[in-house]
Point group: C2
Chain length 258, copies 2
DNA sequence: TAATAAATGTCGTTT
DNA sequence: AAACGACGTTTATTA
């Protein structure tokens, strides 16, 4: 007997919804519910969401999302690894999503359904994210003049006491250069992080040590701090790095943005 | 003429989907799409997602989510404030979500639809998040013995140079006590934050100043730092604070977790 | 397993 | 508008 792959129920009864969702759980399908519900969560914090109309997604990996008709973020959720239970009580359909190890419980109580849909979604495609911090690193190694003329990097990600240094090298005067890369406009935290690394090297090095913060921008508040610590800033955007790396960008970025 | 509030199309044609989604935009509805698509994003970073079956949510506030059948987080998204466009090209339906100011573009290219559903979701309900850091603050003010016997708090959120101090008071010996509250197990960052505040007060105060980090736990690495700085730690969980505040918990937490 | 840093972080608040 | 810190942050990486 062949089970129909997808199932879409418009305005289902409580019983129809129950059967569809329960089957969806046991068959590890992706479940989409639109309806009126209230939501309780207890775990690291606790929350209560009064009744309203929402979109709920239950995924085969055990993740769960409750989305209101606004905001990027779900109002309530569970990360992958949660277990689903469903029951009917007092004419409400209750979906319980819990992670036993973390002692976190999410309960969604429905009193009305606009839609219950069960899908066997197939998605094994690759996802490519370009121009991350690592990409910026690689771009600098490939084209050191992004930092300054004469820069000679000789190491990636050298481990020192407080953590990892993104790039180390020497300038044309043979001074040591310590580089901290950020892909976002950076603030005081990044400056302080760089300072820690530089100080660590100054202890061991007799030659001059320069610290350069490489990022697309520097927050105003951090500029004074940077200067007072004798550190330097070099503007470099992930987009520029992407360009250097000649990522397989069939379309030009400018075309795409139109 | 009354426009039907909700619309559910199962396996719609490209043209049917186009009309439904376009109307959904203009009527500021919540839009749910399940289908096969690929996704491109260019903005702060850039990404490419090859073809696969996904769930897409487009909300009236301009936020957009692309969800694969796994993971808590959307694979691609736009925060609220984005604008939607739709067009048909080469037998593909292309939904474009962009924020001009931030120069961020998300494009979803569909070649097949399992479901297109348009909802006028009503959700004005309140959302209550309990046992936050603020709640812990209030609990300490209400029951100072949570810190230690004889503690007398006299201020919440006093502004000092580096930021805000959660609670200030005096102990039974009339020493000043500076409290930093964290709702999670805390690390070195929290210890250093507390130290900054304590140092700020030591400059101005002639009497002894004690710094207490209040949190449900202290990371192992931070214990040495705390001790070396002469600071103290007091274990206190948000759950305990919730209890003190007698949050309207009709059900007992233990019942709920069952 | 625990700690640490990154994120297209997002989101609120304050300057 | 910019900056700063919190978040049920989540997630990946490394010790």
């Amino acid at each position: 007997m062949n089970v129909k792959t997808n199932l879409v129920l418009e305005n289902p009864s409580l019983g129809e919804a129950f059967n569809a969702i329960k089957n969806g759980f046991s068959e590890r399908k992706s479940i989409l519910i639109v309806g009126e519900c209230d939501v309780d969560y207890i775990g690291r914090a606790s929350s209560r969401l009064e009744s309203g109309e929402r979109i709920i997604i239950l995924k085969p990996d055990g993740s769960a999302l409750v989305h209101r008709p606004r905001d990027y973020a779900p109002v309530n959720w569970q990360p992958p690894g949660a277990l689903f239970r469903i029951r009917i009580k007092d004419n409400f359909l209750i979906v319980r999503v819990f992670r036993k190890k973390e002692n976190e419980v999410l309960e969604v109580k429905f009193n009305h359904f606009f839609l219950v849909a069960i899908f066997n979604l197939k998605d094994t495609a690759e996802f490519y994210l370009h121009a991350t911090e690592k990409d910026m690193q690689r771009a600098i190694m490939e084209k050191p003049s992004l930092i300054e003329e004469g820069f000679r990097p000789f190491s990636i990600e050298r481990s020192v006491d407080p953590g990892f240094i993104d790039v180390i090298g020497r300038d044309s005067q043979n001074n040591l250069i310590i580089i901290e890369i950020k892909r976002n406009i950076s603030g005081r935290d990044a400056v302080l992080q760089l300072q820690k690394y530089v100080n660590e090297f100054k202890k061991d090095s007799s030659s001059r040590v320069r610290g350069i913060l490489v990022a697309p921008g520097l927050a105003k508040g951090a500029q004074k701090l940077l200067a007072s610590l004798g550190l330097e800033f070099k503007a470099l955007s992930p987009e520029n790095c992407s360009f250097v790396l000649k990522k397989r960008d069939n379309k030009k970025i400018t075309d795409f943005l139109k």
